[in-house]
Amino acid sequence: MNGVSILWESRELFLQGALDTLTLVLGCLVLSLPLSILGAVLMNESGPSLKRALRELFDFLRCVPFLLLAYVIYYGLPELGVRLPPWWAGLVSLTLYNAAYLVEIFRAAFNGIDRDNIEAAQAFGFSRLQTYRRVILPQAVITAAPLIGNQTITAMRDSAFLMIITVQELTFTANFVSANHFSPFAPFAMAVGLYWLMSVSIEWVVGRMGIIRRSRYG
């Protein structure tokens, strides 16, 4: 059986695999964005000891190879009595790992906001919470969008590792199809193509946000 007919026969599997990867990445974004914003705010607002503890935690997370983090959460945690199904273990590892990077991105974006924009909010009687919600965050999200986009693409690439802990995503699918047909090239090339397509779509969304930013900020 040639490559094209293998792919055609497995089209539904690939579609499902790509959707599963997208779901993972979206789930990771939905969870890690608020988590990392909270982390960045805490690092800005907390006292020296909590700030130090958070810094150590995020630095540590960024130092661990992603695959090892996924191993620890999937294979290691059950020893401590926490047993997660593969998909959830994958999502948790992806979220933690991604959030550790996003915290840094948000912190940099917070620090880049014009001091006088924050001062004006204070002078007009905004509470600290209102200042974050109405001035700091909206500006930070717009300026950090390209970096958040890149980080999302990185998270999507990292998600391929999750096949090792048997999460049924796109790489898992490609592996499964290639094993079933004893033909690695076409299925893996297909997976590469689909990853590329999804990356380009994320880039496109980021690009749109860039256009909005330039039209407003000049």
């Binding site: 014009d114 006088d116 924009n117 001062e119 004006a120 909010a121 204070q122 002078a123 007009f124 009687g125 905004f126 509470s127 600290r128 209102q130 109405r134 001035v135 909206p138 500006q139 717009i142 039209s215 407003r216 900020y217 000049g218």
Partner: protein
């Protein structure tokens, strides 16, 4: 008849930065409905003093009163300051501020800049606030810019938006921190014109400025500062005609 309570009253205000004394023992009453210009050489503490009035700089000691109510928190004998954040925010909402570099919120349109604080801080209904904001923008000649973002405006336009933003809060006082210093010369006039009409309308204004002609013609009172202290407080006409202190004479010449 007792004197009415001043809009702003400052008692023995001191401010230090890292042991360096920037403001020393400042006492000042600013009557409601007047325009006061604070003049003085660079580094005399004018801007720091203005920023102490709404506690953007926290005084090292002394107190500021707005309509007889204490601004900010208590400063004890050891110079330790306790701030009640909620009360401070409530007081600040009654004090408008216009900054040298405009400080417009860059992610919001002109109209949103003007309506943001009344909606978020004063919790007034959006519809009312927008109607009022449009009227203010009309008044400063910027109604046609309501839906553009600040970056598309000239310096003079930005500063008029900044004044509109302050006015929308219906403040008891507006503080101006060198409002024309960052402007091209040909744009200074349009901003001063707005401030002049506010003075006529009885708005209480405290203005740090280097615009001598404006101070002479528009303000009721001139406060002359040097070396972190007030050297002279006088009606504007008197101050410019015959300054009492030698330092002020040198400053004006």
């Amino acid at each position: 008849m007792a004197d009415p309570i001043p809009a702003i009253s400052v008692k023995r205000l001191c401010k230090e930065f890292d042991g360096h004394e920037v403001l020393r023992d400042i006492d000042l009453d600013i009557p409601a409905g007047t325009t006061t210009c604070i003049l003085g050489p660079s580094g005399s503490g004018k801007s720091t003093f203005l920023r102490c009035l709404n506690w953007l700089e926290i005084p090292s000691s002394g107190a500021v009163f707005l309509d007889g109510r204490r601004v900010g928190g208590e400063t004890n004998a050891a110079g330790k300051v306790t701030v009640n954040r909620r009360e401070l925010a409530e007081t600040r909402a009654k004090i408008g501020m216009v900054f040298q570099h405009f400080a417009l919120w860059r992610h919001l349109t002109v109209l949103q800049n003007v309506t943001e604080a009344p909606i978020q801080v004063l919790k007034r209904p959006r519809q009312d606030v927008e109607t009022q904001a449009m009227a203010i923008l009309e008044q400063v000649g910027l109604a046609d810019k309501a839906h553009v973002y600040p970056h598309a405006l000239s310096g003079g336009q930005k500063q008029r938006v900044a004044i509109s933003r302050a006015l929308a809060m219906k403040p008891k006082v507006i503080l101006f921190d060198e409002p024309t210093s960052a402007l091209d010369p040909e744009m200074v006039g349009e901003v001063l014109a707005v401030m002049r009409s506010l003075a006529k309308g009885g708005m209480t204004q405290v203005i740090v400025t280097h615009e001598m002609a404006f101070a002479r013609d528009v303000s009721d009172t001139v406060v002359f500062m040097d070396g972190g202290q007030i050297r002279e407080v006088a009606p504007a006409k008197e101050f410019f005609a015959a300054p009492k202190t030698e330092r002020a004479r040198r400053f004006l010449s």
